[in-house]
């Protein structure tokens, strides 16, 4: 080996070792678990009266495919990706256009204030929103009540209203990221190009369609892919918001609750996670290929 290779390996080794042991190895280990009957009693420590930890082949995967709740979680997760990503992208574009408009005065102040949701811990933000959506004390229902709404929605416990609430929360959590990416993209559009289009007599929509969109399209696509991956892996927010209600609506939460819920079955939980990861990997791979995102990795 060359000298630089040895030195380089020495430099990356501590991080690599920690990464391999605490990140990669648990994943390999849980792939193994997915093919066993690991459950409460025989994992992590074997209890005398519990069934022995054995290899069960594809049993867990077969069980998952026949499980009603898993199917529900799978569909709802994709539904959430669809709704939340649409909302996030639309909100991101709208807010970026608004807070970049030359008619808006004091843009810098708004932009630095709008970053606030990004600066807050997720746990804090979600609990704040849980308060906002509280059916009795929450300001949203209080406001609806004062507007004369008769049957107030139960944002916490009703599946559909809570799902809507999660979409709102997700938009709120993700818009700073979307604004940052889209604003940077918008600012990279040369003014001269737009002015030239105006002189040529292009209308507002024509300018957007033929001048701005080709330039900002790629960063927006990039942000959309990243944010859709985040939506697919939605776990913390439903977990904090109402873990019981969303158990069969978000695939990662479903897997987590299988492992650490009332009746732990680690093998099945690991199998759920593996399926989720494979689906996500395929989804990301396809998207990365389409948009050539991996070019960043060659830097």
């Amino acid at each position: 080996m060359k000298k630089t290779t040895i030195i380089a390996l020495f430099l990356i080794l501590p991080g690599m070792a920690a990464f391999l042991f605490f990140n990669l190895w648990p994943i390999i280990y849980s792939i193994y678990l997915a093919f066993t009957n690991a459950q409460l009693g025989n994992f992590p420590v074997q209890a005398p009266q519990a069934p022995k930890l054995t290899f069960v082949g594809l049993d867990n995967f077969r069980w998952i495919l026949s499980d009603e709740k898993f199917r529900s979680a799978f569909l709802w997760t994709w539904l959430f990706v669809l709704t939340s990503v649409t909302l996030k992208v639309l909100a991101g574009i709208f807010l970026s256009l608004l807070y970049n408009s030359r008619y808006v005065k004091g843009k810098m102040i708004y932009r630095s204030l709008l970053i606030i949701p990004w600066a807050l811990p997720l746990l804090f933000s979600v609990t704040v929103w849980k308060f906002m959506f509280d059916p009795i004390f929450g300001p949203i229902n209080q406001m609806l009540k004062s507007l004369g709404v008769q049957t107030l929605p139960n944002w916490i416990n009703d599946p559909l209203w809570a799902f809507l609430a999660l979409n709102i929360i997700e938009v709120w959590l993700a818009y700073p990221f979307m604004i940052t990416v889209i604003t940077a993209a918008l600012q990279s559009v040369p003014d001269t190009l737009v002015e030239a289009a105006i002189i040529d007599g292009a209308s507002y929509w024509q300018r957007i369609r033929h001048v701005v969109l080709p330039i900002v399209g790629k960063p927006i696509a990039f942000a959309t892919i990243l944010t859709s991956a985040a939506s697919f892996q939605y776990f913390m927010v439903p977990y904090i918001y109402n873990a019981g209600l969303f158990e069969d609506k978000f695939i990662l939460l479903y897997g987590f609750r299988k492992a650490f819920g009332a009746t732990p079955h680690y093998g099945r939980a690991a199998a759920v996670m593996i399926i989720a990861t494979l689906v996500l990997a395929v989804y990301m791979y396809v998207n990365v290929r389409i948009t050539k995102l991996q070019e960043g990795a060659k830097g």
Partner: protein
Amino acid sequence: MRGMRKGEALRSLVLTALAVFIMFIILFPVYYIFIVSITPGSTLATTEFHVIPQNVSLDSYRDVLFGFKGSRISENFTGTIEGAAHIEDGKLYVTNGKLIGKVKYGPFTELTFEIPLSSAVFEVSASENVQGQLKGNVRGLFVLTKVNDDGSIGFGLVRNLELTNGELDGTSFSGILLKGPTGRDYIVVRNSGKVTFTHIGMFVNSLFFGYLKNSLIIAGLAVLLTLIFVVPAAYAFSRMKFFGRDHVLYLYLMFTQVAGGLGIAGLIALYGMIVKLGLYDKLPVLSLIYAAGNVPFNTWLLKGYIDSISPDFDEAALVDGASYLQIIRHVLLPMALPGIATVAIFAFIGGWTEFILASLLLTEKNQPLSVWIYLLMGGIGRGIDWSYFAAAALLFALPVFVMFMLAQNYIRSGLTIGGLKE
């Protein structure tokens, strides 16, 4: 020309108003939780919300930080009384007794206390004179203004004490307290007895600083370990060409993108590993896990930063005969300081806010603030009121907020890593 300018001004006015309005809506939740935190707890549900709060109080913050040691507890209770007693002329004389009470409703649900009763006189319904061992049920109002560190009652009062159902030597009766040990119609407790706050009550009686200490240990150690893992590696990836470099970088990048699902998949195995290795309930282990999790993303981040520093500097040092370690220490480290600071802040925020692993791998006494906040949320309405929770949550969020704001430009460029490159 004038009309045009007028139109522009109108447009500007409308759009600016819209921008301000939307910003207000977006930021309203944060503002609201702040207002709640400085509103006295009991007024929350009954009064209208005021954009500018009417009566500001910092009580909630004081309660979170130092516990309820002020004149806070005044709750109805039910309980039992027992002790040696005799009845004479419709009066029950209790000597050498004991009063045990439990709060059933309100913010101090499940609070229990025990008070020795040297003497007490009740007016009771019984007429015959008997003597023996008293057993009875009581209810009343318990006022607590000071708790000593050893759990004894510093100063407290029992008012409106009523014997609902007493039994003494076969006769049963009921009545009200006539005279306490001091001769008044209430019982004064001073540096005696015992008061216990149960699970939620214990949170109420603030362990804030205990949790804060755990959080600081976990997050601080996570920062240190992350820097040890990330800084040398980022240098190597940025400056050296070696076998496997691109593969490892690609692995790291892919890992940052699918980390959520994989992370939770790994959680199951990680939990098993930690328990099997006997590392359960150890703070440094948690930091190590966080630091390991920080490696892929932060290595990328810092590599990107070092890439932007011209290699002329370290090449010049290399020509001068400096070793790699010397180059890192004297040339790159000072120049990459903003990037390193960003990594450190990320690591700190990560360690400070994580609560899933912390709640799985730590027992109660070692848990950090984040877990406490999560548990507090479950206790709202059952011993925790909203203003108390809001104050605790804001105190928890504050360091993260400050750090993010200080480093936001670096963090922004870090979070959108690679994405803006054409």
